[in-house]
């Protein structure tokens, strides 16, 4: 099936009222969430996840994708107008957006940001459409050892993404893997780590864990933090300018840099949009066309950062759809929708349920158009949402977390799990322990266990298949190289230093 016929099938699958409505609601909610202070897409998606269970899979996925993409756009509003980034990934937009707004060019800055994000979103959706099928074709050749090594490599990439927090990120990932093993062993039907508690026989469910870690913990931080003060005078200047909309196309280099880094980093597990925007911003500084210094209202800074920010979404979905490996916490939760509906993300999805793949691609394209249209119509009143007291929002989120966790199974047991993980999330936030790896570990744990059992079952417990099969051996080599790289680079540095010292001495 070629790209265009897949796309037309995808558009056709969006043509039902429930899917179209969920797409629109998701996009609108995403923008609002991006603008609201302190609320991120992770919280919203975690709280919304239980409500998607009663929907058709594509409707649920479209709703969550709408929130995911909408928040990228919304985050730019507060970054530019009140110097308060809605998301971590909008920080770079603030550096040039706010000075521009302060000098009376708020409309230009907003238009630049929205159009750059739009280009990033559309390009990354197209990249998803073009790259996903060949990648899935390659991944279809994966046996159990390759699947195991791909997950191990993803786990190491997650740890590496946390740089100095490598060990604690791996600890949380390990905890996630461990939690995925709780319940009845699928092979022997024996209980594992249940401690006689009937509620955990079927395992620890993902929904309350996500609601607790992302929803409750975030809400508890919001209600217990002081209300931030800001200069609200620029909010009155919110609006858009048509000239600003066309301006990003004057800087194709900055746009290309943002697109490349956003998509490439989106594919890597757990690295996240925040890092891609920083890298794109600093890369755009080299050879910038506009003479305005960066940090004082250079349009190329906004273009590169916003392009990178929104092009993450397509990249992150590639690994989910082709390998069943989530790129970040949000795509991990979106993967929960697949799992609940009995859909296994991975190469087989392209054969078994092509309508889902095509639908995701089409909805990513449509979502970006809908978001841009909504922003054109509502940017002025939307900007006023920045006035909302985060404590009031936190209270509303706490109340919604209760319903979200409860309604997943109509059980207070789910609320108890959410509360436990809410406390854990708060403790982790206080101690600066990352929690995203825990969710990623939980999501990948089942596949890891099944593949590991299969691999060892066939090799009768021997490790040989992991290095005897070429793809698995390559993945293993990359994993080992990633782990020993700090030691190797240290070794190289030591060897280089005496030589450099000598050459300096001779000069």
């Amino acid at each position: 099936m070629d790209f265009f016929s897949s796309l037309s099938q995808g558009f056709a699958s969006l043509g039902t009222w429930p899917i179209a409505a969920s797409l629109l609601i998701g996009a609108a909610l995403g923008i609002v969430v991006g603008v609201l202070p302190g609320v991120g897409p992770g919280v919203t998606i975690a709280v919304l996840l239980p409500f998607t269970y009663g929907m058709a899979p594509l409707a649920g996925i479209s709703l969550l994708l709408g929130v995911y993409c909408g928040a990228f756009y919304g985050g730019a509003v507060t970054s530019i107008l009140i110097r308060t980034p809605g998301e971590a990934s909008s920080i770079m937009t603030m550096f040039d957006g706010y000075p521009m707004a302060k000098s009376g060019q708020a409309q230009r800055a907003l238009s630049l940001a929205f159009m750059s994000a739009f280009v990033g979103g559309i390009a990354s959706a197209l990249l998803l459409g073009l790259a996903a099928r060949p990648m899935a074709g390659f991944a279809a050749r994966f046996g159990a050892p390759e699947s195991v090594m791909a997950i191990v490599l993803a786990a190491v990439c997650v740890g590496k993404a946390y740089r100095k927090q490598f060990a604690s990120a791996m600890m949380m990932m390990g905890l996630g893997f461990f939690l995925a093993t709780v319940g009845i062993d699928p092979n022997s039907n024996e209980q594992r780590y249940t401690f006689g508690i009937a509620g955990v026989l079927s395992g620890i469910p993902l929904v309350p864990v996500a609601v607790g870690l992302f929803g409750m913990a975030q809400a508890l931080v919001m209600v217990s933090s002081p209300v931030p003060s800001f200069d609200a005078s620029l909010i009155q200047n919110a609006g858009l300018s048509w000239r600003g909309f066309m301006e990003p196309f004057k800087y194709p280099k900055a746009m290309a840099k943002g697109l490349f880094l956003g998509s490439a980093i989106g594919v890597l597990p757990a690295v996240g949009a925040a890092l891609s925007t920083s890298l794109a911003y600093f890369w755009a500084q080299r050879g910038a066309k506009d003479s305005t210094p960066f940090g004082q209202g250079n349009p190329e800074g906004i273009v590169a950062a916003e392009c990178a920010n929104n092009s993450n979404s397509g990249g992150a979905m590639i690994t989910v759809l082709t390998l069943g490996i989530p790129g970040d916490a949000i795509t991990a939760i979106i993967m929960g929708v697949f799992v609940v509906h009995g859909i296994v993300p991975g190469p087989s999805l392209f054969m078994d349920r092509p309508e889902i793949i095509n639908g995701v691609l089409a909805s990513l394209l449509v979502i970006n158009v809908v978001i841009l249209a909504l922003l054109v119509l509502t940017v002025k009143p939307l900007a006023r949402l920045a006035y909302v007291n985060p404590r009031i929002l936190g209270l509303a989120i706490l109340a919604l977390c209760f319903v979200g966790a409860f309604s997943a199974a109509n059980s207070m047991y789910y609320v108890i799990i959410a509360a436990i993980f809410g406390v854990l999330g708060l403790i982790c936030a206080r101690a600066n322990i990352p929690t995203i790896p825990l969710i990623l570990g939980m999501v990948m744990g089942d596949t890891l266990e099944a593949s590991l059992r299969q691999a060892f079952g066939r090799s009768e417990g021997a490790f040989n298949p992991f290095w005897e099969r070429p793809v698995s051996a390559i993945l293993l080599a990359i994993t080992v190289l990633l782990i020993i790289w700090p030691w190797l680079s240290g070794l190289f540095a030591k060897r280089v230093t005496p030589y450099e010292n000598n050459s300096l001495h001779h000069r």
Binding site: A88, A217, A273, N389, L395, G422, L426, A429
Partner: protein, 102 residues
């Protein structure tokens, strides 16, 4: 184990601003603990008293604990609890159990 060792040694390993992780550096632990206690009471209250009344009581008590103005607390509590009760109980038919009030 390595994570626990790192936690013990942690002094320099904080880079929250560059990640999607939660930044709680300005949060008050006492207020968060108080909110957790109120949430625990809310969990007990829903099946016992009823969803609407418990939500109203939880929001009012939370507003008071967080030092919000009486007007804001009352408006938020009444609107949010009624709105959520209508959406989840009446429209989406989520069953929270029979409390001795609504």
């Amino acid at each position: 184990m390595a994570g626990l060792v790192e936690l013990y040694q942690r002094r320099r390993a904080v880079e929250v601003a560059d990640s999607d992780e939660l930044d709680s550096s300005s949060a008050s632990v006492v207020q968060a603990m108080g909110m957790l206690v109120l949430f625990g009471l809310y969990m007990i209250g829903v099946p016992w008293i009823g969803y609407l009344t418990s939500t109203l009581a939880f929001l009012m008590a939370s507003g008071a604990w967080l030092g919000m103005s009486r007007r804001a607390t009352l408006t938020l509590s009444v609107l949010l609890s009624l709105g959520m009760w209508w959406v989840f109980v009446k429209v989406l038919k989520v069953y929270f159990g029979h409390g001795w009030l609504i």
